[in-house]
Amino acid sequence: MIENRPWLTFASHATLLLGIGLVALPVWMALVASTHPASAFGVGHIPLWFGDAGAETWGTVLFEEAGNGVDTPVWFMMLNSLIMALGITFGKIVISLLSAYAIVFFRFPCRNLCFWIIFMTLMLPVEVRIVPTYEVVANLDLLNSYTGLTLPLIASATATFLFRQCFLSIPGELVEAARIDGAGPWRFFFDILLPLSRTNIAALFVILFIYGWNQYLWPLLITTDDAYYTLVMSIKRMLSVTDGDIAWNQIMATTLLAMLPPVAVVIGMQKLFVKGLVDSEK
């Protein structure tokens, strides 16, 4: 800054630390709660410091059953979440790369029409057309399947636009040089375009992984079979338990485990994550 005002700098740090504390508060509470036995919650308040039942709760939740009406262990649902998240991520990236490639590097009739059809998906988030989409998937017999979990979510105008932008920034001479060097469309795609889009793909991967992992309403609707439960949606099933004792410690442990992978991805790949956010700007 321009002036050197120590107290202002100090105030800035203090405010930021306070902000970080407030943002972290719910997670802190969840972490504390998960270390107490289920009986601790009956007495009317959540304990404020760590208990000693942590290892037991986390072990149970991870390897035996999540509890509260969900019999599957967390590791198994994590696997489902991972399959769904990666399916959505790879699916979106692949079909968007291909369609953006077609739109930028080829001229063909109805090119604009295709562009608009893809653009329209931007206007139709799944939450908005939830009932008819469910019916379509039910008609196609895709309920309780990985295909049903992923396929309806992989069309993405955002990713197509991002790649279009990225491809448009590649100098035309590079394409010409490749043509003179005897590279056809496929060779150009694999030898030049993909390597040049590497960071964009990685950045988008981070964003889409979070999007895929955090899907909630869609898996909730189309899975009724334990075998396809994903971790995030299982929370809803755990909360809808009716018979009295809710094992809060288990719910908190499961919640923390459910947010762990995407949070780890954001923190571990912060640079790519920021790039992905800025690039896609929704």
Binding site: E176, A178, I180
Partner: protein, 355 residues
């Protein structure tokens, strides 16, 4: 043997814009042809049509007797060096040079041999494992040329390859390109807007203006006998003095008060030209006309004097005089000049053709 023939080659874009009406050009094997002209004159379009990057709307392109109009760029056996070099940024220098050969399915050991030969010739051996972004401008330029050379093509195409380099490097690379081309003996088509580059490199020059070839000839032909005022102005630096005049029985009438005597059968409006270096300093008795000096540019080896022909009326024609060695005439003073008739250039004002 004639190597490349352009026969009435023209380009009309789908939106109806006619970039090039019709160009005829035949290039001998091993010849260095430079296409030169101001930006937007169609020189790059013409080059790209030869490369196969733009379709040919009318006419025919033949390389070694074979019609090329419908061939893909890769099938024409040409190589191109781009203005921004167009090096693949994610590939090493070696891979950049080898890519075209790999795509043609050439054996690996043969590729290695060719690349290392060319790298040696261009002094790139030490840089083969580097990425383009780790190279200087001049080195990138060399890699771009190496990529063209390894393929050993029938024709080299250069699209303003030196315009991204600084002045000093440009001169150095210019000489190098000329030497390499002589050594390899490959037919070359080179596009530039820089007339110095054009004059120094070319066996023959094609001056393009608005898609038309104004004149095709050796650099000295163009300098000594420009076919049109456009060529006259474009070739030579500083440009030729060109003045609107009328040809009468008395001679070239530049203004009411000034007529330079000449006997010529042509009558009517003309453009009269003389190069700055051909004007000679004289005195009031022997001079053809006087120049009112407006500015003096001393460059040491030569001096450029800008002024206006002194007449009774206010607006005399502007002129530049180029004198060798240092001169320091006063601004606003008068300088008497003679214009030797052997250096005159006369053009018909209507047809723009040389008389």
């Amino acid at each position: 043997m004639t190597d490349v023939i352009l026969e009435k080659v023209g380009k009309t874009y789908p939106n109806g814009y006619q970039a090039i009406p019709s160009v005829d050009l035949s290039i001998e094997e091993g010849e260095f042809i430079v296409l030169v002209g101001p930006s937007g004159c169609g020189k790059s379009t013409l080059l790209r049509m030869v490369a196969g990057l733009e379709s040919i709307s009318t006419g025919e392109l033949r390389i070694r007797g074979e019609r090329m109009n419908e061939k893909e760029p890769a099938e024409r056996d040409i190589a191109m060096v781009f203005q921004n070099y167009a090096l693949y940024p994610h590939m090493s220098v070696y891979d950049n040079m080898a890519y075209g050969l790999k795509n043609r399915g050439i054996a690996k050991n043969l590729i290695e041999e060719k690349v290392s030969d060319v790298a040696k010739m261009l002094g790139l051996t030490e840089l083969l494992q580097r990425k383009p972004r780790q190279l200087s401008g001049g080195q990138r330029q060399r890699v771009a040329m190496g990529r063209a050379m390894v393929r050993d093509p029938k024709v080299f195409l250069f699209d303003e390859p030196l315009s991204n380099l600084d002045a000093k490097l440009r001169v150095q690379m210019r000489v190098e390109i000329r030497q390499l081309q002589r050594k390899l003996g490959t037919t070359t088509l080179y596009v530039t807007h820089d007339q110095v580059e054009a004059m120094t490199l070319a066996d023959r020059l094609v001056v393009l203006n608005k898609g038309k070839a104004e004149q095709i000839g050796t650099p000295m032909d163009l300098y000594n006998k420009p076919a049109t005022p456009f060529v006259a102005a474009f070739i030579g630096s500083p440009s030729m003095n060109l003045i609107d005049a009328t040809l009468t029985e008395q001679g070239v009438k530049i203004s009411e008060a000034l007529t330079l005597p000449l006997s010529h059968q042509h009558r009517g409006d003309i453009v009269w030209g003389i190069r700055p270096e051909h004007l000679e300093v004289s005195d009031e008795q022997n001079g053809d006309f006087a120049l009112r000096i407006q500015a003096v540019e001393s460059l040491g080896a030569e001096t450029l004097i800008h002024g206006k022909i002194e007449t009774e009326s206010a607006n005399g024609e502007s002129m530049v005089v180029r004198l060798s060695g240092p001169h320091l005439p006063d601004v606003n003073s008068l300088m008497w000049l003679t214009a030797p008739m052997s250096h005159w250039h006369l053009f018909d004002a209507k047809t723009q053709q040389r008389l």
